[in-house]
């Protein structure tokens, strides 16, 4: 862990609402995107001369395209319900990180140019001209929002700051002030197929290596197929799963589950990314371009189902938006939802008793579960509301003997973001990421001390990367974060029958029964 020139917040016994400290995070802003990352996405290369004019026109356009934005900008009554709900406020104490204050950076400008009261009596209603300082404030503080939607749970009108920060980021990108981290990644994913920029040969090589590792360890030839035509399932997973720890252990878990299920599957090099950073910058068009790659891959490979790996915002885009952006999926098997989450796939097999586990393989760990924000508050799993909470926990309980939940305010719909979501998982925002993790770290400390929890499982690539990085700042070890399918991978009893890898599900069932 590197030495830092800022103070790491202290973990308290109970959550405390901090006193405001003005401009505490005014110095934190990510790198601005250069021309080469801006133009491919359809944005101006650098700040345009008449940027005020362009920005205001864009604001007007967006309020006519998005009902959410239009209603949310008008409806806030400044009641204060959201003021203590943002993890970035709790971690940084900067008042502009209170959700309503963050929204007001945008709302005050909207009022100035689009409402009668703001035009006539700006001071009275807090309306503000769009000046260079305001634009800087936007850039600073709309990149201190991870779009986790926690504020929207507690707002009496359901105002979601994520919608406003997405709009603000789109306005900024349009005038030529986009964010480097997101825009560079979107460019890579749109041309190479994944956020890491891995070309097909590198991907094939990596997967081959995994096959060898798993066979060496288990004696079973678990396959990691790539670009195989005519399979039942196309797996779309975050590219971090191919390399990073503990992500890759999750990928091994998916492969073992597919192996045991007997369902044929493949990944695609063309659509080798579940993440969709187009959402983070509020760009429907860029989000759609990325989503269409998945549709094209599914058609090209002739698969019947689409399953997504463990990734939070990716699951939001997949579950809530994919059908909208890239549907209709009438060419896929109508017996299954499109898309499915790997947890739904695994949970289904567990509930049908088709997987065998040796739970004691996970006895060296006592687990808790971090509900990833976008899965918790912007998606669902299974048929019933709240399935996104029960399915992963069911899987953990099926594969582990020791599990405890964190305090109620910090889980399920009240879950805290890891601190790195929403396009903020970049080294130039490290201080923000460390401080934003505070509420989660406090909750983890609680179960560590009271229940002897040693590890925290998650189903999001961003959460996993973020925690690996920030856990040490709070006195934990970086490997205390694990993938849910890593637990599955540890506990699953593989069928030692080469023939079990088959396209025929019935045969596979027999094989499981024999085992």
């Amino acid at each position: 862990m590197a030495k830092v020139d800022y103070e790491i917040p202290e973990l308290k016994e109970y959550p405390v609402i901090p006193k405001l400290k003005k401009d505490a995070m005014a110095h934190s802003a990510p790198y601005v995107a250069k021309e080469k990352f801006q133009t491919p996405l359809g944005y101006a290369g650098e700040l345009v001369d008449n940027w005020q004019e362009v920005a205001i026109a864009k604001m007007g356009e967006l309020t006519n395209k998005y009902r959410s934005l239009s209603v949310f900008l008008d409806s806030c009554v400044k009641c204060g319900a959201c003021t203590d709900k943002c993890h970035y406020y709790l971690g940084t104490t900067d008042p502009k990180n209170m959700p309503v204050a963050r929204q007001d950076l945008f709302r005050n400008v909207y009022r100035r140019y689009f409402t009668l009261a703001g035009k006539l009596v700006p001071k009275l209603v807090g309306a503000q001209d769009l000046t260079e300082e305001v634009l800087d404030d936007w850039y600073t503080y709309f990149h201190q929002c991870s779009q986790c939607r926690r504020c929207s749970v507690y707002c009496p009108y359901g105002i979601d700051t994520a919608e406003i920060s997405m709009a603000a980021r789109e306005v900024m990108a349009t005038v030529g002030k986009g964010q480097k981290y997101c825009n560079e990644i979107i460019g890579k994913a749109q041309t190479l197929g994944n956020n890491l920029g891995l070309p097909e040969p590198a991907l094939a090589d990596t997967l081959e290596g995994l096959e060898e590792d798993v066979e060496e360890e288990t004696g079973v030839a678990v396959k990691f197929p790539l670009d195989k035509k005519g399979c039942d399932v196309l797996l779309i997973t975050p590219s971090a799963d191919f390399f990073a720890e503990p992500h890759v252990d999750g990928l091994i878990g998916y492969a073992k589950v597919f192996h045991e299920s007997g369902v044929s599957w493949t990944m695609s090099s063309y659509a080798s990314e579940a993440a969709n950073f187009g959402m983070f910058i509020g760009s429907y068009e860029n989000m759609r371009k990325l989503a269409l790659r998945i549709r094209e891959a599914a058609i090209e490979l002739g698969c019947k189902r689409i399953v997504f790996g463990e990734c939070g915002h990716a699951w939001r885009v997949a579950y809530s938006f994919l059908n909208t952006l890239a549907g209709p999926f009438d060419f896929l098997d109508p017996a299954y939802p499109v898309p499915q989450h790997i947890c739904e796939f695994t949970h289904d097999l567990i509930s049908k008793d088709k997987l065998n586990f040796d739970k004691s393989e996970n006895d060296h760990m006592t687990l808790t579960f971090h509900d990833s924000c976008n899965v918790a508050r912007a998606s669902r799993m299974g048929d019933e509301a709240g399935g996104q909470f029960t399915l992963p926990r069911d899987i953990i309980n099926a594969t582990c003997n020791n599990f405890y939940d964190m305090p109620k305010h910090a889980i399920k719909e009240g879950t805290y973001c890891c601190g790195g979501g929403g396009g903020l998982l970049t080294d130039d925002l490290m201080e923000l990421r460390v401080k934003g993790a505070l509420p989660r770290m406090e909750a983890l400390k609680n179960v560590t001390e009271n229940n002897g929890v040693t590890h925290m499982a998650a189903i999001c690539a961003i959460c996993k990367s973020q925690f690996s990085k920030v856990l040490p700042y709070y006195g934990f070890e970086m490997d205390q974060i694990v993938s849910v399918h890593q637990l599955v991978s540890n506990a699953i009893i593989l069928t030692k029958d080469e023939d079990s890898v088959t396209d025929n599900e019935a045969e596979a069932d027999d094989a499981v029964a024999v085992a």
């Binding site: 001071k123 807090g126 009108y157 509301a385």
Partner: protein
């Protein structure tokens, strides 16, 4: 005075109806291109209706958030609702029987309404977070409502207004017949503040009242996989 207030009320009513109407039209016309209900969300239309009813009657989300704001906000809104219902008796002749029933509750509800408003004002001043996010208009809005509630309660509990004449005046206004309006300063302040509130309604945060019905995070059904949801402008992208 009768004519002045008649003009004021016709103007205020026109602004309120046309202003709020045009905002509602804007909200209804603006598409919601993506499914964004805050989950867990109902998976059926009926479930959404139930969710909205809970938001409107018990302020469910606010209750989850902060018990003080909930208490004051709920007291104020429910108090105001009863008070408003009670006021129907000035606009109906004969008075509907259920309004007669509400009458005594409505009278005391004004106390709840005032307590709620005072609680909200104290929070706005005392809690540093809420003070930070308050614009002058936020204080003025509470002040205006306190004036309306205060003068109203005074006429109920302290002084007494010439209700018979007032009712005749209001019934007259409804058929464009301007009758005698009692020249009672408390009543006139009460009426003038109500007119101001009606006028600023469509250009202020009072738009939260129609807004909540259009809030996509609350009114959308969680069924994106089952039903394809595409807005008109997004369909145009597909045709490119």
């Amino acid at each position: 005075m009768s004519i002045l207030f008649a003009v004021l009320f016709y103007f205020a009513t026109a602004v309120l109806v046309l202003g709020v109407g045009s905002r509602i039209r804007k909200y209804a016309k603006t598409p919601a291109p993506l499914k964004i209900p805050t989950t867990p969300a109902p998976t059926t239309r009926r479930g959404v209706v139930f969710r909205m009813i809970k938001e409107l009657t018990i302020f469910e989300s606010l209750f989850k958030s902060n018990k003080w704001i909930w208490l004051f906000g709920w007291l104020f809104h429910m108090g105001m609702l009863l008070v408003l219902l009670r006021h129907l008796r000035y606009f109906t002749d004969p008075v509907w029987s259920w309004v007669v029933f509400v009458q005594p509750f409505g009278k005391y509800a004004s106390i709840a309404m005032l307590l709620g408003l005072i609680g909200l004002l104290v929070r706005r001043i005392v809690v540093d977070r809420v003070r930070y996010i308050s614009a002058p208009s936020d204080f003025l809005m509470l002040g205006l409502l306190l004036v309306i509630g205060g003068t109203g309660a005074m006429m109920s509990f302290v002084t007494s207004a010439d209700i018979i004449s007032l009712k005749s005046y209001l019934l007259g206004l409804m058929v464009f017949d301007i009758r005698y309006l009692p020249n009672d300063p408390i009543l006139l302040v009460h009426l003038a503040s109500v007119a101001i509130l009606m006028i600023i309604f469509p250009i202020s945060k009072l738009l939260h009242a129609p807004g909540i019905f259009f809030s996509p995070t609350r009114n959308q059904v969680d069924n994106p996989r089952e039903r394809r949801h595409v807005s008109a402008w997004a369909i145009k992208l597909e045709q490119k």
